[in-house]
Amino acid sequence: MRIKIERRGGFAGVPAVGERDESELTAAEHQAIRGLLHSPPASAPSPGADRFHYKITVEDAKGKRELEVPEHAMPEILAGIPKIRL
């Protein structure tokens, strides 16, 4: 399994991205990914303005799946994976 997490939005409006192979995921990160795949959150944006929005792409034996995750539904443990590339 390989995951890619893309972040957009926020006050800065600067995109961020992070990728992990299954072997690089901690048990907690793995569990958070499984939870999102099992119960995908509603993709409606978080209330207010300048909130982050995430797109998670998971590729494994079952194929490629994409999840749109608003900030309020994003597990904190996964939110730190995307980084800004200067």
Binding site: F11, G13, F52, G80
Partner: protein, 357 residues
């Protein structure tokens, strides 16, 4: 109980036959005494109901006036919270923010200045114009590279200290976030597409004008149009980025988040913080052409366009451009013609269509 004739004459709340005609009919020579009395009773009933209605109208005016006066008199209080690097809002209340350490003191002071800017420059009483209390939470999350408005309050992260430092360290950021609350209470611009980019632009415009107001900087000074200059971290600066956005020159290389400079480059797939560069540039060009300070006539005219009641939640750039032109046409000062020309020229430069004269 109403007689059949009375039932036809009025329904208890409005009158089919004018009261004056009822009075004339009641005096008719050919009427039987019974029917004359019916018309007379109906006339008296209309007079009684008219007096009751007038009483209610006056009472509601008095109540409305007193509610409005109460709202205008209410002064917003500030509440500062410490999230302790957790993502739970609002966090722990800071008992004495004015003496609670550099971060709390600065946010308390700057938020108060934003409220003062709205009050003294624009005549607005806080976020909702009714003295709504101002709530700010600091130290949100771990290495959280953002500040946001959650619909009820402002929230600030500490950045990673490499690309971004603490998000409360830029005056315009605090003005930006509070302005999202103002927009929410006015047009409620939808946070997508052109209306979303307008929503973002308004926060940058009022944030920049607030920043220039604090520094008493004229519109001609370039630094006052940089958004996020105070939160750039050492790594970003080393790479030559001195701001997130530059309202005068949105596509400049010194911007970490470059933006399109005209409507011809509008990207429908982009985040609202990208396309906001187009109306941002229009405001900066307008304010510079108007001369003097952005926080005088220019921001007042933009505020009038936002609060004039004609800006819908789904407004396009062209809709907003028209609102600013309408605001210029409503302007009563001696610089009316100059402002109207500057507004028109600014939107023309960024290629947003305006109605023909």
């Amino acid at each position: 109980m109403s007689t059949p004739i009375q039932a036809q004459l009025h329904c208890g709340c409005c009158f089919i036959v004018p009261p004056e005609l009822l009075r004339e009919l009641s005096r008719g020579q050919k009427l039987s005494p019974r029917n004359a009395r019916v018309f007379q009773d109906s006339f008296l009933e209309t007079v009684r109901l008219r007096h009751i209605r007038e009483g209610h109208r006056v009472a509601s005016l008095v109540t409305r006036r007193s509610v409005a006066a109460e709202a205008a008199a209410h002064q917003a209080e500030q509440h500062i919270f410490d999230c302790g690097h957790r993502m739970s809002l609002p966090g722990k209340a800071v008992a004495n923010p004015s003496t609670g350490g550099d971060a709390f003191q600065t946010v308390f002071k700057t938020t108060g200045q934003v409220a003062e800017f709205y009050q003294t420059v624009l005549g607005r009483n806080s976020v909702d114009n009714q003295g709504m209390d101002l709530v700010s939470s600091l130290n949100y999350g771990q290495i959280y590279q953002n500040a946001f408005w959650n619909g009820q309050q402002m929230v600030y992260g500490n950045g990673d200290q490499h690309i971004f430092i603490d998000f409360w360290k830029s005056l315009d950021v605090i003005g930006h976030e509070l302005t999202h609350g103002v927009t929410q209470n006015e047009s409620g611009l939808r946070y997508e597409g052109e209306s979303g980019a307008l929503n973002e632009s308004l926060s940058d415009c009022f944030g920049a004008a607030f920043n220039q107001w604090v520094g008493k900087a004229p519109a001609s000074k370039d630094d006052g149009w940089l958004i996020g200059a105070g939160i750039m971290g050492p790594d970003a600066k080393t790479k030559g980025y001195n701001c997130l956005r530059d309202m005068v020159n949105p596509a400049a290389q010194h911007c970490l988040s470059p933006q399109p400079i005209s409507y011809a480059n509008f990207d429908p797939t982009a985040d609202v913080h990208i396309n906001s560069g187009i109306p941002n540039r229009a405001f900066a060009l307008f304010a510079r052409a108007a001369g003097g300070n952005s926080y005088d006539s220019p921001i007042k005219l933009w505020y009038s366009a936002c609060t004039g009641g004609h800006l819908s939640a789904g407004a396009t750039f062209a809709d907003f451009a028209k609102s600013t032109l309408d605001a210029a046409n409503r302007w009563t000062g001696p610089d009316k013609d100059k402002l109207a020309k500057a507004v028109r020229d600014a939107w023309h430069t960024v290629e947003v269509p305006l109605p023909s004269v």
